[in-house]
């Protein structure tokens, strides 16, 4: 090991002084207050707030997801377990892994669900897939936001398995990216992954091809909260 990660000190070096002094020669430094004011004065006239009603917003989200080749189910909160069973059956899955905070009520009795905690990378590679929730979503780009704590699980569990079934609640779907990022519930220092469709590549003749290293199949259950 080079240094322990808890050794939190700035590494001073000749290069650091060199680079900083070359920057300051290029552009003379200004007062800290003018930096803040300058940033605040940047015009942001793009559309930060959405304008769609709930139903149109959800339709847009669903449409975007389907455009990426993701499967979409709509159901009521009380029907999540039944819909999970339906989605698994359609993909021929009998067993999924789940992060610790996924509620028991979402798990249909007829399928098996394993806690993801103790699994090694090699174990994860052998699983049939993963079931998680998310922390938010963005309709305009069909994007799901994960923040990797107990709810969404560590990053590897939604990456190594080939199938990801994700529960998104209707009230988690924001229209714009600005709204989606602003609504992230946890500290920004928790790792964030955004997912827009199954893994894909455009590297061969610029055509989006589904399925490379991340999950090749993504299904989304869009659930309306119980009144």
């Amino acid at each position: 090991m080079v240094e322990q990660a808890d050794h939190r000190e700035i590494i001073l070096s000749v290069a650091r002084e060199q680079v900083l002094s070359r920057i300051r020669q290029a552009i003379p430094p200004t007062a800290a207050s003018s930096v803040k004011a300058g940033h605040a004065a940047i015009p942001r006239e793009y559309q930060r707030a959405g304008t769609l009603g709930e139903s149109a917003r959800l339709t847009l989200f669903e449409d975007r997801l389907r455009d990426y080749g993701a499967g979409v189910y709509r159901c009521a909160e009380s029907a999540i377990a039944a819909t999970v069973a339906l989605a698994m059956k359609a993909r021929g899955k009998s067993e999924l892994i789940v992060p610790p905070a996924v509620p028991q009520a979402w798990l249909p009795a007829e399928a098996r669900f394993l806690p993801s905690n103790a699994l090694s990378y090699a174990d994860l590679d052998q699983t049939q897939g993963v079931l998680t929730n998310c922390v938010g979503a963005v309709a305009i780009s069909g994007t799901i936001l994960l923040q990797h704590t107990a709810d969404n699980g560590r990053r590897a569990i939604t990456l190594i398995p080939d199938y990801h079934l994700c529960i998104v609640f209707a009230d988690q779907v924001r229209e714009t990216l600005a709204e989606g990022l602003e609504a992230l519930p946890k500290s920004l220092s928790v790792p964030i992954t955004t997912i827009s469709g199954p893994s894909a590549t455009s590297d061969i003749e610029m055509t989006r091809v589904k399925g490379v290293h991340g999950p090749r199949v993504l299904d989304v259950i869009l659930a309306a909260r119980n009144p």
């Binding site: 680079v19 942001r44 990216l177 928790v190 894909a200 455009s202 061969i204 055509t207």
Partner: protein, 476 residues
Amino acid sequence: MSIRVGKAAQAPPFPAVAKQLVHNSQIRHNVRHATDVIRNKRARVVDEMPDWQQLRDAGHRIKEHTLHHLDRYLLQFEESCTRAGGKVHWAADADEANRIVVGILQANGEHDVIKVKTMTSDEIQLNSALEAAGITPYETDLADLIVQLGEDQPSHIVVPALHRNRMEIRELFLRKMGLETLGEKAEDLAAAARAYLREKFLRVRAAISGANFLIAETGSVCVVESEGNGRMCLSLPQTLITVAGIEKVIPTFQDLEVFLQLLPRSATGERMNPYNSIWTGVTPGDGPQEFHVILIDNGRTSVLADEESRETLDCIRCGACLNVCPVYRQTGGHAYGSIYAGPIGAIVTPQLLGMEHSQSLPYASSLCGACYEVCPVKINIPEVLIHLRNKVVQNGDAPLEERIAMKIAALAMGNSSRLGAAHKLVRIGQRLFENDGQLTGLPGMMANWTATRDLSALPPESFREWWSKRTTGRSS
């Protein structure tokens, strides 16, 4: 200083390579096809955004503001990242950056390292430095893998293997991956890459990434990708090393809402690329527990010092300017002799390297302005190109014939009687070459023009001559 941009300092001039490449019909066909596809996709997803111009304005202004206070934002990033458990290193040039990366890997006893697509590592020739130190780098981005397996050079900023078509890639995979059979569909090729790399993802303990954005406020790093190879490299290994140019810093997390809209729509014509990873230092129980960021200058501060071309550093590497460039679309990326091709490459490469290299690149453009129109952060590439052409001339680096011709032109155009005399001379001289009012087969430097284009002969009477006759006639 050992400033490098891949092998650009040794590359032959643009016209020499371009001349050969335009005769390679396979490459031209591949480049034309791929850029057509991506241009159309981009146009479709940009047109559906009513606020695209406002987003461009914001992106431009954020970049401009950040560069203006670059020292502060870098220090803020260093502080936030360090507080979160990351190690921030600085490198003045390519060699320094490579030494730091090799040093970290050697200290950990690593012999293999997986890599997420990073232009910056190509710029500093990190792979050669790793190999020289006995460390094997594995490129994991599909296009980078194609380039690495084919011992090829990248030809596009976003899709480095764009000059290869499906069948060429299939043959390469069959040969290099030791496969007996392989389908012909793009899906089959992607599946082959998945199988080939999976073992490496699960086994190799160290990774190298680039950065799309460094967030000063939070100390976070953002990597934008499609395949999931990025997520594999960023979250599975024990050790992660991120190499990033100093211009990659942005002030706040909120600023991402601008760039994460501009970048995917401009780069691949998608509303959003499949995956974005944003992480901050180290997170106990999730991902690499040792994390290093190397902030690299390698010529960037010289660009910063030139007020007229500073905006070159605004670039977010989307590649949109390549796809619309009439020059790039004819030659492909290899003519530029640099890992940075196309219009943006023509301004980045000579500036990073210093103007004594790559002097032909500022001329590799018709100045049509298509690049400026599509640039998501509004870099005025044509204006910078003209500024750089001026620098080439000021440095006295223009060809001798051209310098003499320009001196004579300046002399002749300096006053009206000299210009009149010059016109008369040319009218006599042009008789040798005149054909139906067009000049053909001019000698010397002028042959470059007349070999492929028309050049009208001077008319028997100039405007000035006509005018002076006319006024004389009226007053008498």
